[in-house]
Symmetry: C2
Subunit: 662 residues, 2 copies
Amino acid sequence: MGSSTSVLKRLVVGRPFRSDQLHHELLPKRLALPIFASDPLSSVAYATQEIILVLALAGTAFLHLTPWIGLAVVVLLAVVVLSYRQVVQAYPSGGGSYEVASRNLGPSAGLVVAGALLVDYIMTVAVSVAAGVDNIISAAPELNPYRVLINLVFLAILAAVNLRGLRESGRAFAVPTYLFVVGVLVMILAGLGRAAVGHAPVAESAGWDIRPEHVGLSGLAVAFLALRAFSSGCTALTGAEAISNGVPAFRKPKGLNAARTMGAMGILAIVMFAGITVLALITHTRVAEDTCDLAGFPGDCTTQAQRTVIAQIAAAVFGGDHSIGFYYIQTTTALILILAANTAFNGFPLLGSILAQHRYLPRQLHTRGDRLTFSNGIIALAVIAGVLIYAFDASTTKLIQLYIIGVFTSFTLCQAGMVRHWNRALREVKDRAQRLRIQRGRVINAIGACFTGVVLVVVLATKFAGGAYLVVIAIPLLFLVMRGIRRHYQRVRQELEPDPAGDLLPSRIHALVLASTLHKPTQRALSFARAARPDTLTAITVNVDDTDTRELQRTWEEHRVKVPLKVLESPYREITRPLVTYIKNMRRESPRDVICVYIPEYVVGRWWENLLHNQSALRLKGRLLFEPGVMVTSVPWQLRSSAHRDLERADHLPGDVRRGIF
Amino acid sequence: MGSSTSVLKRLVVGRPFRSDQLHHELLPKRLALPIFASDPLSSVAYATQEIILVLALAGTAFLHLTPWIGLAVVVLLAVVVLSYRQVVQAYPSGGGSYEVASRNLGPSAGLVVAGALLVDYIMTVAVSVAAGVDNIISAAPELNPYRVLINLVFLAILAAVNLRGLRESGRAFAVPTYLFVVGVLVMILAGLGRAAVGHAPVAESAGWDIRPEHVGLSGLAVAFLALRAFSSGCTALTGAEAISNGVPAFRKPKGLNAARTMGAMGILAIVMFAGITVLALITHTRVAEDTCDLAGFPGDCTTQAQRTVIAQIAAAVFGGDHSIGFYYIQTTTALILILAANTAFNGFPLLGSILAQHRYLPRQLHTRGDRLTFSNGIIALAVIAGVLIYAFDASTTKLIQLYIIGVFTSFTLCQAGMVRHWNRALREVKDRAQRLRIQRGRVINAIGACFTGVVLVVVLATKFAGGAYLVVIAIPLLFLVMRGIRRHYQRVRQELEPDPAGDLLPSRIHALVLASTLHKPTQRALSFARAARPDTLTAITVNVDDTDTRELQRTWEEHRVKVPLKVLESPYREITRPLVTYIKNMRRESPRDVICVYIPEYVVGRWWENLLHNQSALRLKGRLLFEPGVMVTSVPWQLRSSAHRDLERADHLPGDVRRGIF
């Protein structure tokens, strides 16, 4: 099976390329945009809705605040995009916010960003899947009772395809993003056009009234409500830093191309978010956190769900919820959201690899070709996201509470780091034109840092009780764990500092061959050990069962084995302890010598066969490694079944495209 | 911690004894009886109740059948005990039914018995815990809503103490059994005495009527009902074969002592079962499967539970449910039932060890001192029993449906095997007195085989739909798995048959030392490899990162390492594949030589440290073992943290007392 699928894969995706050929395969901007922008662009699908949901808590009267809040979000989005254009040009290595914060604000700040980004990836998965399913249910309302289940199924599918090694193919993945963008732009144009000619589209919910949860708000309370709405709207910014992590995958000049793509993404995001918000106002779209607060909602408000804002707009603009336009928008929206979740499955190993390179995570995450650790990452990501989806009833609105803190933590630290970066540059650069450019950059990033910092405070204040406290716990926890890992590596590194004199050369080698019966593996171990010409060579067996031991001695003589067989008595029928005692005694007699223990091992092809073999050999080996001056040699004997193992597997890992590896 | 507990353990339980001192520590009959009989004697606590429950399905009218059915169970019990008295004398090695069936009816019959016994152990745990909790709830009815939970908690406690290595201490474990036996005998005497003087005790349920579920039964249906009641009553026999598995733990003459203990156990079981059944009739104790079928039951029949039969009798005899006698009976009953469940945790590894010796189960189960595999067995036993308890609502009545088939399968095959055993013996023995003795044994076992065989058919017919079909699936499944394991071992054995000429002596040894950086572990691996004086010696590194590789080459020269360093290019940043390719090429050039790969390994003390080290080394090693002509040598470097590992642990394993190991 293995070989036939890999042949098929080769036919479909072509031969893998070598690192030194990589520059032939870097992404043109028209592919880089959809690959990196599926995450930030998809968030316009739910940002407007989250603003309206919060304002609606005080009734329809406060919906008039929507345009102002939308405007604030647009300004913020523009600031963040401009700031990150600076980042990609200054740090084209793809470390993004993490690299900027570590280099300029010190490793601790970098580690906080890393923790925030890890939380981000989890929330990207959870929120995107939840929002995608919301839009599927908007098109097929009868699925509402199975909302959580559908979420978990999508999550499982995403995890499964990534475990199988989904190849993030630029071309195929570009299509849904473009389809979504075109669809939304056409919808905005059509809606505005209809409004211009006096036929303004009307949402199904336009006539519904909203029973306010908060009545008679004070001025301060209104301000707080507006801030809450604003921080919910900030979800439009999530994913904006994606391009800054993918710069190495761009064609040269990498920084400039990335900055241009960033600009295009920003313009698209602003146009789409503003357009959807304006259409929501024109069509009088109404949504409420609790469906039962909607006076006029047809059907049972306890079991049926409201349509998403984008679905209501699409239905209003394209002429009802059976129009082709409506289904087009819902399909592409769901598709781009699921795709956005997939980007987290790709970005997670990438970040892990960078953190591992800096020794904040286990080292094996750094090396490529290590499927197992990627698999663990994918499973961890899916399980945590699944638990969150389950715990928060797959509600996009509830999950978003957890999302924004991580995002704005990394925004703020990154922008602050950039300000420092420019300050440092100013000290070195004398050229006037360059100094002007640097000063301009510093102003942009300073504004970015202020804006995102204020938003972070606002988000913390307004979202804390709604679940954000979980993130406030998670990020420091991740920080401590990663710092602990790095300390461990450093301690070990000091302990292992090479000795200038080298290790003392042992004077003699004593070889012991473990034998339980005399069969081919034992015979091979004996002949390998003899070929190594040690100073002494003894075969050794532990007498657990008298009959077995006598049988071994008999065959030993019968086959005239040239190596003497020593029997260790084991009054308590154990294997490990008598051997360890014997070896300790040998070591005591000649401490400058080395003991080499040869263990015959079976090599089997099927996982369950391992349960039937090698268990005591493995445990014994694990114990022997604790003895100084002992080395353990495994002499494998390949059983016929070992041919069943598929040893060669074409390796494509998640995140390859983002690293510039095709 | 490890050493202080083991010191404490030594103080409490004394030093462990060596195998050759075992005869000093064998069990006298007065201790063997309670240790092996807790399982069979505890079943009298629920057997009578199960008979009444079935008869009550047809209303109170049919309860008059109870004495006849009880009599049939007593006769059967006597026959089985007499039969097993023959078994323990003929097969004193402790293999019990499994050994008898394998030796006389062939390995397949033995394997069926083994499967049945494995099912038995699971059901012993489930049924005993459920019945124990029934009796706790009879004394404290307010716990009824938490029935399943309490069951699972007891199960978890049993698993935990056995995982920690509960020492089955003869003396401590003997007490509850004797307390239970004495209590029940006193209760029977007191009850019969009161009846004799005209003050017959009256159960709380004596006045209740039972709404029959089956009305107007035909003669055939009545017969079927009686058969069902009889097969339910046969639960009194469960555990009867326990002594036959523990013969090695008896003092000499083992067979005779075991047979006498068997007889004492049988007499006790018959007296107790008969006494409880007679008292149930005298006190007019009523129980019904569905509490709501009891007209007169006080309280809410949907949430409250009936008292067990033994609890109702105790309350009636000792003057109410607040008398000391009542609490005594309930406490000792619950205690002996939990103890009976514990015996399964002891018996399971014992049976596993025998099956492993015969290569039906993974071989490591055979060797003592292997905590890990016992732990897996204990966890598996607890989990399966827990699932059954959960699935059957912790109902003793429902669980018992699954219990009896396994028990009677092994009874029948064992007795049939004994008949064959005697037939064979008769062919050889000429002495008249001995022939008479053998013929008597043959008659007893033939009767046993017929009786238990008929009961097996009855049980199959009457219990199949009630859940017994699960057992009918499980036993053949176990049979197939165990046969598969044995076939695998046999195939491997043939494949590994020693070569008369021995393995070909390789002409040369080429040593490769893996190096990623030059630190103490690498230095040690280099010096160990040099000490072994191979024909060629090369250090080898895979170039995953150019900077790291250049740094390695620099320090290599700086330290003037005498071994040449070879750099393998890895265009895809993998470690394993370039190495395997390199080694394959070496092998192709000189196929008669052996390659020895030295891998420096860190040895750490805490489990999580393993996650941070050695991962790629381990994976690489796993892959290299598949190459013929390659041996892999681990050169350990003990990090300071390796001293944290508790290497010596005093070993007491479940089942020790039953094996005659103190």
